[in-house]
């Protein structure tokens, strides 16, 4: 079984988010980057499925050289080898095009992504890869089991779950529950030093969309307390001062 796991390099979930003064770019200086938490789940499940010599796990990332520590971590957690497509991950379409290109060359049985990345939350890459390859896409999967060349997945839907079955090859987006993220152990960290990390140049892909600017959510205003005896004024405040109604 050959599994490709897509790893995105995202700011730590506790990082302070700052944009350039023109609001066009994220300021990454001083920010710690991590493996996208949903990708960690995908990686953990891929390792479980191939455990004991049942297959290989290749980690792929689209990024410049600064993402290599993140890729090494994926290798330390247990990926067999890794590919870095040497380009800035411009947008979802570009990223999906790169991954699809690599997938075409290597015939993976399963392509696992996180259901979305915790930075841009696009949630579009898994489906786009599947579309480009002409294979099934299963989004937001909470469970993935394999039987021969078939897979059974469980998807979360409003108020319940949906059971899906498909055959290799397919693309799935991993969600909470598929596996527990793994912490690299010392053996893993040491073996990651010598595991192959291949760097390839990107293929052309049209720029179909563009991020124009970023805006941070307005900070919540403070609570205004009204004395009990002034409760009658509440209506006026909502209407006159805040102009809500």
């Amino acid at each position: 079984m050959k599994i490709l796991v897509c790893i995105s390099h995202v700011p730590d979930t506790t990082a302070k988010i700052i944009f350039t003064p023109d609001n066009k770019e994220f300021v990454s200086q001083g920010v710690t980057f991590i493996i996208n938490p949903y990708d960690e789940i995908a990686l953990a499940r891929a390792i479980e499925l191939t455990d004991g010599g049942k297959g290989t796990v290749t980690a792929i990332n689209i990024g410049d050289i600064s993402t290599e520590p993140t890729i090494r971590k994926a290798l330390a957690i247990g990926a067999t080898d890794a590919i870095r497509v040497n380009a800035a991950p411009r947008d979802g379409y570009f990223v999906a095009a790169q991954i699809a290109q690599i997938a075409k060359q290597n015939n993976y049985d399963i392509i696992l992504c996180g259901r979305e990345s915790s930075d841009h939350n696009g949630a579009s890459v898994p489906s786009m890869i599947a579309e480009m390859l002409g294979v099934p896409a299963i989004s937001s999967a909470k469970k993935l089991d394999v039987e021969g060349t078939n897979a059974n997945l469980e998807r979360e839907i409003e108020g319940g779950k949906e059971m899906v079955s498909t055959s290799f090859p397919f693309v799935a987006g991993a969600s909470e529950g598929m596996a527990e993220p793994k912490i690299p152990n010392m053996r893993g960290i040491m073996s990651a030093r010598t595991k192959p990390l291949t760097v390839v140049e990107p293929v052309d892909a049209p720029e179909l969309s563009k991020i124009v600017s970023y805006d941070k959510p307005v900070s919540r205003s403070s609570v205004k307390m009204i004395a009990q005896e002034d409760a009658g004024k509440l209506w006026d405040m909502i209407r006159e001062e805040k102009k809500i109604i």
Partner: protein
């Protein structure tokens, strides 16, 4: 304990002095501590129990013999990696770090450095995997700061020695499978040996009633005419320099470890000072609290620089015992002072198990005493700069 929200502190961008692998090791140990230690450490301390399930995890994250070569099951890592592992473990709890320090520096180190090839092959891989746990017996009831005065002794009986004596305050003793023991031969020369559980006349009663390092098991080693085969003697060292060499390695680890405890206290105090409102504003807005916090981060930053430099020297084989003493003494005291101040910032909440502060504070009272007391390390520096020993 409430959810572990710890974040590291790096005021002088010291991370730039670390390799990516160092940072990966640190974050892995930190993640493990958050997952496996923080949720149960408070309870373990309240019950004065060492959670045995930590042994497997400690082995997996490489806390047993990180700098011992890979061919003996160690990590083959450098001294900075060892320091970072100790820092993250002690951020969780000094007792946890003590268990790892003893196994690595006081058991694996002497077997690797002073042991025969057979001893290395027999013990080191099992100690690295946690299959076997060890302890280190130097201190005696009447000989603490003055180990040279020890009375534990061995008598040569041809193909074996007979060991008699008692050791006290021995970390990991109650559950250890082997003990690296220091005792005098008939010529009065200190020799190291490996004593195994099950040898006739060897017992390890547990020490109860500690108010410090409660999640670490401490006990005695009692030797009543124990037959120690000659192949269990560490052949390659004689004299006090044997145990002192081990202590050097452990003290170095402690100087990193306590930065973890200090950072945990500071981190908690900083967050609490911004969340706790009194007189209509966060207490972190009052000058008195800011003084405490500003001094804490200053001292942590100085300690980080000290240990980093010491680590570089140690990697190059140039760190002197006196330099290690200075770092151990300075950093443990720094951490203890920070714990005390941080406890005050937390007000009444600071004495509860909701926060890690009181636990760290009590643990550090042991750390400032073992591996050479605060006073003894000062005398070592004093001797180093004047050339005159003031111990006796």
């Amino acid at each position: 304990m409430a959810t572990d929200r710890f974040q590291g502190h790096d005021y002088y961008l010291m991370d730039e002095l670390l390799t990516e692998e160092h940072k990966l090791i640190r974050s892995s140990v930190r993640d493990w501590v958050k997952k496996e230690v923080s949720p149960i450490v408070e309870d373990a301390c309240q019950k004065a129990e060492f959670p045995k399930q930590w042994i497997k995890g400690l082995a997996e994250i490489g806390a047993f013999g990180p700098y011992i070569p890979e061919e003996y099951g160690g990590g083959g890592l450098d001294q900075i990696a060892y320091g970072l592992i100790m820092q993250e473990l002690e951020r969780g709890d000094s007792g946890l770090r003590s268990t790892a320090s003893v196994q690595s520096s006081l058991v694996m180190y002497p077997i690797y450095t002073y042991g025969s090839e057979e001893q290395r092959k027999k013990y080191l891989p099992k100690l690295a995997s946690g299959e076997m746990m060890g302890c280190f017996g130097l201190t005696e009831p009447d000989h603490g700061s003055n180990p040279n005065g020890m009375v534990s002794n061995i008598k040569d009986k041809g193909d074996h020695f007979i060991l008699n004596g008692a050791k006290m305050w021995i970390s990991n003793a109650p559950f250890a499978d082997i003990a690296v023991v220091w005792a005098k031969d008939e010529q009065g020369i200190i020799r190291g040996m490996i004593v195994e559980r099950g040898m006739k006349g060897f017992s390890t009663p547990e020490t109860h009633g500690k108010w410090s390092l409660r999640a670490s098991a401490t006990g005695e080693l009692v030797f009543d005419n124990v037959i120690v085969p000659k192949e269990n003697i560490l052949p390659n060292v004689k004299g006090l320099k044997g145990p002192l060499g081990c202590l050097n390695s452990a003290r170095y680890g402690i100087s990193w470890g306590v930065i973890g405890a200090a950072m945990d206290c500071y981190d908690s105090a900083l967050r609490y000072s911004k969340e706790r409102i009194q007189f209509g504003k966060p207490i972190g807005g009052f000058q008195l609290q800011q003084k405490k916090l500003a001094e804490m981060i200053t001292e942590i930053t100085k300690a980080q620089l000290l240990t980093w430099r010491l680590g570089v020297l140690k990697n190059e084989g140039r760190a002197t015992p006196a330099q290690i003493s200075m770092a151990k003494r300075n950093n443990v005291n720094m951490a203890l002072q920070i714990a005390r101040e941080a406890r005050q910032i937390h007000g009444g909440m600071g004495i509860t198990g909701e926060f890690p502060i009181m636990r760290h504070m009590m643990n550090l009272e042991s750390v400032i005493t073992y591996e050479g007391t605060h006073d003894i390390h000062l005398l070592i520096t004093g001797m180093d700069v004047t050339g005159i020993a003031a111990f006796e």
